[in-house]
């Protein structure tokens, strides 16, 4: 099984770090993994994007045109990836900043007010971890506890005190999705 | 008349730091003098066995054939960078470059300036004869105003090609430079002063005091179209006034050195 995940948003939304946490967790889970940022011309307009590929086998291309999962932190990301996603893929949209639903019906859409939820926890920068928690609940990619452990191991020392808040963000993201599925 | 019996003392011999060979330099060229001074200093300081020279591109390109110690041959102007690479991985060795004016002051201007700025712990012997010798007498960055060369046949016109560069003065402004001096090789008295400067420059390196450079005003009779004696007079009468001799930078630790 090989899954390609794109985390995309404005610079400062923690998209690259969210991708790295997934990559570290994938490594800990014994998977092959690549993480590749968009750099160079793709950085125009302050967008920050990375592609994480997680696989049971050696990975060929670290980049994909048609991702299986997209974490769209802003509207331009949803606009860009909606037409490109694999049929049956999963789009997680940060509904706090994205005011529309997808037109495609062959892609699962989860609209989660990540920025608002993050502010409620006490830090708007936790939106990335809410999205990660939501994704892990919606799709079998990696176990949540492995991702949490990866975060604990790789969160920069100066941010260590925010670890409980980060965990809370992941849990709330996951809970949101479970509620949505149950409803 | 009674012949006095005297002990014959050997007063002059080939320094161990020079090889026993004939150089390719022209009659009256002062490269030979400069080579000998460097070699005598290496001998006197007992550092021949750890010396590594860096030869330039120019007339002294074959310097490595004349010095009896390890040598490398740099690309044109890059000797200070190459010397930096050597010195940084072998700080225990004595590393020096031997460069002409085209090499050091034209194509290698960037490398020499930055080596000085870094305070690179190397010694530079800079031969300024105001001309490109090896390529046949073209205008050098240090060619004097009005001086005729094969590429300034009407004489150096400063309105068109600009002015000679005074390297010692320029490098003295570098905070990293510890010892910057200009001497001349045009007569015995000055040759002795030049040797003293070379000795001091190597002492600076041996003590880890940083960048040292000795600029030596030199004669090129062949490309100047003068006899050897005329050429030495040309240095005295024309070059020394434009390139004044003396110490341009001597940091306190260097001033304390007794040479």
């Amino acid at each position: 099984m090989e899954k390609s995940i794109i985390v995309s948003g404005f610079g400062g939304q923690g998209t690259l770090f969210a991708g790295q946490v997934l990559a570290y967790a994938a490594l800990d889970a014994g998977k092959y993994v690549t993480w590749i940022p968009s750099y160079g011309p793709e950085m125009r307009g302050g967008t920050a994007r990375c592609t994480v590929t997680i696989s049971d086998e050696e990975i060929g291309s670290p980049l994909t045109r048609n991702p299986a999962i997209v974490l769209a932190m802003n509207l331009p990301s949803l606009d860009k990836y909606e037409p490109l996603m694999q049929p049956g893929g999963l789009m997680l949209a940060n509904a706090s900043l994205i005011n529309r639903k997808m037109d495609r019906s062959d892609v699962r859409g989860i609209y989660i007010p990540a920025a608002r939820m993050a502010e409620e926890i006490g830090n708007p920068r936790l939106a990335n971890m809410i999205m990660v928690g939501a994704m892990l609940a919606a799709e079998e990619v990696l176990p949540l506890d492995v991702v949490k452990e990866a975060l604990e191991n790789h969160l920069p020392e100066r941010h260590k005190k925010t670890l409980p808040m980060n965990f809370q963000a992941m849990d709330q993201g996951a809970a949101f999705v479970k509620d949505a599925i149950a409803a | 008349m009674v012949m006095e019996k005297v002990d014959l003392n050997l007063v002059y011999e080939r320094p161990e730091s020079l090889t026993e060979t004939t150089t390719h330099y022209c009659p009256g060229c002062t490269h030979g003098t400069a080579h000998r001074l460097v070699a005598e200093v290496l001998d006197e300081m007992g550092i021949r066995e750890k010396a590594i020279g860096v030869a330039p591109v120019g007339c002294s390109v074959f310097a490595y054939d004349y010095f009896n110690h390890d040598f490398v041959e740099a690309a044109h102007g890059r000797a200070p960078a190459m010397a930096t690479g050597i010195k940084r991985v072998r700080p225990e060795n004595t590393v020096y470059t031997y460069q002409g004016d085209g090499d050091l002051a034209s194509i290698g201007m960037g490398e020499i300036v930055h080596a000085a700025i870094r305070g690179e712990n190397i010694t530079v012997i800079f031969i300024n004869n105001a001309i490109y010798g090896m390529t046949g007498g073209q205008m050098a960055p240090t060619t004097l105003p009005g001086m005729k060369t094969t590429s300034s046949p009407l004489g150096r016109d400063v309105e068109i090609v600009g002015y000679p560069v005074r390297m010692a003065e320029m490098l003295a402004t570098a905070d990293g430079a510890s010892y910057v001096v200009r001497q001349s090789l045009h007569d015995p008295a000055h040759v002795r002063k030049a040797k003293k400067a070379i000795r001091k420059a190597f002492e600076v390196q041996e003590r880890g005091l940083g960048f040292s450079i000795v600029e030596l005003l030199s004669a090129c009779p062949t490309n100047w179209g003068l006899t050897p004696v005329e050429a030495l007079h040309f240095v005295r009468d024309n070059m020394v006034p434009y390139f004044p001799l003396g110490d341009y930078k001597v940091i306190d630790e260097v001033a304390k050195l007794r040479v």
Binding site: Q20, A23, Y24, L27, Y32, V33, T34, W35, I36, P37, Y39, G40, P41, I59, G60, S61, P62, L63, T64, R65, N66 | R48, E49, K50, A51, I52, V54, A55, V61, F62, Y64, D65, F67, N68, H69, D70, F71, V72, E73, A74, A75, R78, A81, M82, A83, T84, G85, I86, K87, R88, V89, R90, N93, G110, E111, H114, R118
Partner: protein
């Protein structure tokens, strides 16, 4: 040692450290700067030489000096820096001292851009500097391979007193991938006998690239060429995927090669008999292996992130035996696997002969259509 998630440039730098590099001299340039930054911390901590030079010209001459002093030395740069370094590269080759240079390739010509590219293939493989010389060029495709081949690069450089290039593109320099670093090697204790380290109890060592008498230079050129022939015999490296029963062969190096491996995998699932040949040494080039390959497949597709530079080498190996097609993305664009898959599907159906040179004309038509579609 266990696998870690390693960032390309930093992992390459650490691999060089563990291979025993004692001098790093560099100049900042995207997308290779992390190499320099990593070394700025790591080398002084180990008591080894690190210096940010005033230019790429100075940086490579410092490498040249350190190499002459008998120490393992390297620099890392990108195309524009490489152009400036060409002078010293030729001198290093002419002096026959070992040195390693990493080129994290970006889009060109000129200032170009900082995006991933393979457009320095000719510059690296065919020389770039003046005179007859033959650098070894290794083209890893994964972070692990880059780590492994940087270690190998130093060994090959020493063994053949040769210049060794590692060419990667910006993708590999910037990406993170699970990989394992080798253990730290002990530093060489004794200098090589040819190096300059002080002529104590021996005759002076002189390292130069001058052979003023043409007959001497001729002998030197013969020596260099014979050494290269030895390298060609011993050091060709490549990787094959699914080629056993293949009717279509893709030939591609570096990151383009791993993109192709994804496309080949999907095409196999569709039942297309396709495989991938990925040169790891692009110099010495696996001519014989590709010649042999051309005798058992019907068609070959060359994929590069340039306008078809390796293509010429592949065509030379194939010798007109089977049609050779080309697909490339250029200017800093990395192809996606679906583009290569489209090419494989098309080629699998095609029986047309291709007139020499037409493979590029046809490719450009297809590429421009693709660009027009917004891809």
């Amino acid at each position: 040692m266990a696998k870690e998630l390693l960032k390309g440039n930093e992992a390459f730098a650490e691999a060089a450290v563990r291979a025993g590099v004692e001098g790093f001299f560099g100049y900042p340039i995207t997308p290779a700067s992390e190499f320099l930054e990593y070394m700025a911390k790591r080398m002084p901590a180990l008591g080894r030489a690190f210096l940010q030079a005033e230019s790429e010209i100075a940086a490579i001459h410092m490498v040249y000096g350190a190499a002459c002093a008998g120490k393992r030395a390297l620099t890392a740069t990108s195309g524009p820096g490489l152009s400036l370094m060409s002078e010293a590269l030729s001198y290093i080759a002419g002096t026959e001292v070992p040195a390693v240079v990493v080129n994290v390739m970006r889009g060109g010509p000129g200032l170009g851009n900082i995006a991933p590219s393979q457009s320095d293939y000719n510059q690296m493989v065919k020389g770039g500097g003046h005179g007859d010389y033959f650098p070894i060029v290794l083209a890893p495709a994964t972070v692990q391979e880059a780590i492994d081949y940087i270690t190998l690069a130093f060994d090959l450089a020493d063994k053949y007193r040769s210049l060794v290039f590692i060419v990667v593109d910006g993708n590999l320099g910037q990406m993170m991938e699970s990989a394992e670093l080798p253990p730290m090697r002990e530093l060489r204790k004794e200098p090589p006998e040819w190096a300059v380290y002080g002529a104590k109890d021996r005759d002076p060592n002189i390292l130069t690239s001058i052979y003023i008498d043409p007959p001497d230079e001729e002998i030197t050129n013969i020596r260099l060429l014979k050494r290269w022939m030895e390298i060609e015999k011993n050091e060709v490296r490549y990787k094959e995927y699914d080629l056993d029963d293949a009717e279509v062969a893709v030939v591609s190096f570096g990151v383009a090669g791993r993109v192709c491996s994804s496309a080949v995998k999907t095409a196999r699932e569709e039942g297309i008999k396709v495989g991938l040949f990925r040169p790891i040494t692009v110099a010495p080039f696996p001519f014989k292996q590709i010649e042999a390959l051309s005798k058992r497949v019907k068609r070959i597709l060359v994929v590069e992130m340039n306008t078809g530079q390796m293509l010429d080498d592949v065509k030379r190996a194939v010798g007109g035996r089977v049609p050779v097609e080309f697909y490339g993305r250029i200017g800093g664009v990395t192809p996606f696997p679906d583009e290569i898959l489209d090419e494989i599907r098309r080629i699998n159906e095609s029986e047309d002969a291709i007139e020499d040179g037409m493979e590029k004309v046809q490719w450009l038509e297809r590429l421009e259509e693709r660009i027009a579609r917004g891809e």
